[in-house]
């Protein structure tokens, strides 16, 4: 049993079941992301851990103790909100010290801890300011310091970066991860941004319709999605309906070119998925197979060029890196694209 253990958790609002039989075991110090589209139940699950929603069924245990019956203020959990939720009438220092103040910690001890926390989030000079005098990124760092000041057993973050600019999002997520590692705090991070989840997490829980579709490390989630939803939601994906040429031998045809999958398939057609970065205009290795294609769109994105190519009836996206001496092919050109058949993922319905 893990440090934080959630079993058979369910939540219904009226007739709609938002969370259906959710199970998860989190190790101490682990960083877990809940990833999914809005309305998938990730925030509701988080709010049940925090105590803002009461589960319809199931248990949530921290160190073997069931906390479902405890009120939020008895749970010793830290939380960071999407809207920062800083108290506007209190200074930064008073915000960070709020949890200690209501716990009856002495003024001197409080000041020391507040200074320490503000130092950790790099806002040591800002104690006397009010929240409105800070930028969004600074406010969220104060919120993080406030949540951590009470030394919670578990830290919850509810889409903490989604209100910020792209640049700050990236730098702050690295900072959050670094602080989390340093303090070794068990963390659940809710996001709908796959890049965030992939770059920060030890493990990702991909949620859809109130169910955890896959729980695995980012590398696994990206490269070996187990369901069509996960494959589709995480990263960009080419979905191809391929003709089965020889089912038992695992050979399929795309645009007339036979491709060995290396595993048997059933039926007349099979749904395949392929990452755009697995397709290229030049062979990347000896195992790559060429397919005749017509270039239909070229999008120059800077460091990456995204090309759409028609292969028979299928349309494939492929990403190539921009190199100054190899300009992208013109639209309408007949070309050959290369892929390794092993990169083709067979999706179960």
């Amino acid at each position: 049993m893990g440090y934080l253990h959630i079993s058979n958790l369910q939540k219904s609002f009226g007739p709609t079941q938002v969370v259906k039989d959710f199970n998860l075991s989190v190790e101490k110090g682990e960083f877990i992301s809940f990833l999914g589209p809005s309305g998938c139940g990730k925030t509701t699950t988080l709010r049940m851990v925090a105590g803002f929603e009461t589960p319809s069924a199931g248990t949530i245990q921290i160190e073997g103790r069931d906390i479902v019956r405890l009120r939020p203020n008895q749970r010793n959990i830290g939380m960071v909100f999407q809207s920062y939720a800083l108290f506007p009438n209190l200074t930064v220092a008073d915000n960070v010290g709020f949890g200690l103040r209501v716990a009856g910690v002495s003024r001197a001890e409080r000041a020391e801890r507040v200074a320490e926390m503000l130092g950790i989030v790099g806002l040591g000079e800002y104690g006397a300011r009010y929240p409105f005098q800070l930028s969004g990124g600074q406010q969220q760092r104060v919120a993080l310091a406030r949540a951590l000041a009470v030394r919670p057993q578990v830290l919850l973050l509810d889409e903490p970066l989604s209100a910020l600019d792209a640049k700050i999002r990236v730098s702050l997520r690295e900072e959050i991860r670094a602080i989390q590692r340093k303090l070794g705090i068990t963390t659940i991070y809710v996001t709908h941004d796959q890049e965030e989840a992939l770059s920060m997490s030890d493990r990702i829980v991909v949620m859809n319709n109130g169910v955890a579709e896959q729980v695995a490390a980012p590398y696994e989630i990206y490269n070996r999605p187990t369901t069509r939803f996960v494959a589709n939601f995480v990263g960009t994906l080419n979905l191809i309906e391929a003709q089965v040429a020889d089912g038992p031998a695992g050979v399929v045809e795309i645009g007339g070119t036979p491709l060995p999958l290396g595993r048997p398939v059933q039926g007349a057609t099979v749904a395949l998925a392929l990452r755009p970065e697995s397709v290229s205009l030049v062979p990347a290795s000896g195992r790559d197979v060429p397919l005749p294609a017509e270039i239909s769109e070229v999008h120059f994105l800077g460091s990456v060029i995204r090309i759409r190519a028609r292969v028979g009836t299928a349309s494939l996206s492929l990403d190539t890196f921009n190199t100054p001496d190899a300009p992208p092919p013109p639209v309408g050109e007949q070309a050959r694209i290369w892929l390794n058949p092993r990169d083709l993922m067979v999706l179960e319905e």
């Binding site: 925090a50 105590g51 803002f52 009120r71 939020p72 203020n73 008895q74 749970r75 010793n76 959990i77 830290g78 939380m79 909100f81 809207s83 939720a85 800083l86 108290f87 506007p88 009438n89 209190l90 709020f98 949890g99 103040r101 209501v102 716990a103 009010y130 929240p131 409105f132 919120a143 406030r146 949540a147 009470v150």
Partner: protein, 290 residues
């Protein structure tokens, strides 16, 4: 004024002409008449400067009028704030069905404008000597509130009546402020270990404080200037300042026109001070705002 170059002249007036009608209206029918009264309070009938009119206010009966006016206004504003706040909080935060909110706000809109003569009639019909509640209390429970010292035409009775428009006014003004309290603040406080009382003391009340103060000042001025209800209720038996001034304007009961000016000036002074206190306190409590 004969400035040869007309172009720079045209720029300015066109710009400012837009609010000329409003300015004329405000000066002629709001500011000047008020200033006329204020100036009159410091003038002798011959037009010379004097403080005698103000000094003449210091007679026991006029002081008593001010005192009871201030007491009634203060009590009805305070009770109006407290009760109105409780009701607004019950509806916005207390978990009551959402459907109550709309009708309550509409009703508050109606009741806050239901000051004046009809309100007095309503309370006479309810709590007067023959009013419904008075009669029912006597017949059903054997309680004679008038024998117990209750009188609608008194400090307590008038305060009770004023509350009928004070509470709804408070509800109308404070409900948006209560809506401004984000749910996240409450949740953040609670996950940080705060009890409901601690959240209210450290976060919610300080945030609401300016709105509460402002409403209190407004309710105070509202009650202090109210004439119609009191006049219809008590005739001139309860000598609050606006009624005294009413009688003075009508028939010069003080037998000194300039004492009337001073009386009116005193009213402006009281409501002005109430609002000044509000402005100062508000500025102080809003350091944390943009």
């Amino acid at each position: 004024m004969d400035i040869p170059d007309a172009r720079p002249r045209r720029q300015l007036p066109l710009h400012w002409l837009g609010i000329l009608p409003f300015t004329a209206f405000a000066v002629l029918f709001l500011i000047w008449p008020t200033m006329h009264i204020v100036a009159g309070a410091f003038r002798t009938p011959q037009g010379d400067f004097t403080l005698q009119n103000i000094a003449n206010l210091w007679t026991p009966s006029i002081i008593a009028s001010y005192w009871i006016s201030i007491r009634i206004s203060f009590a009805s504003a305070l009770l109006g704030c407290v009760i109105g706040f409780a009701i607004a909080a019950a509806v916005t935060l207390g978990g009551l069905p959402r459907g109550i909110r709309g009708p309550l706000l509409t009703f508050s809109g109606v009741a806050s404008n239901f000051a004046g003569v009809p309100l007095a009639f309503a309370f006479l019909a309810t709590l007067g000597r023959l009013g419904l509640v008075t009669v029912l209390l006597r017949e059903w429970f054997g309680v004679n509130i008038y024998a117990m010292g209750f009188n609608l035409l008194s400090f307590f009775g008038l305060t009770l009546t004023y509350l009928f428009f004070q509470i709804p006014l408070m509800i109308l003004i404070i409900t948006p402020a209560l809506d401004g309290l984000k749910k996240d603040w409450r949740e953040a406080a609670s996950i940080l270990g705060a009890t409901g009382a601690q959240y209210w003391r450290i976060v919610a009340f300080p945030i609401l404080w300016p709105a509460l103060l402002g409403t209190f000042a407004l309710l105070f001025a509202n009650a202090f200037g109210a004439v119609a209800t009191a006049y219809a209720l008590t005739g001139s038996s309860l000598s609050i300042v606006p009624i005294l001034l009413f009688a003075q304007i009508r028939g010069d009961v003080l037998q000194d026109p300039h004492l009337g000016y001073a009386l009116a000036f005193g009213m402006i002074l009281v409501t002005g001070i109430a609002n000044l206190i509000y402005v100062i306190l508000r500025a102080r409590s809003e350091r944390w705002m943009q």
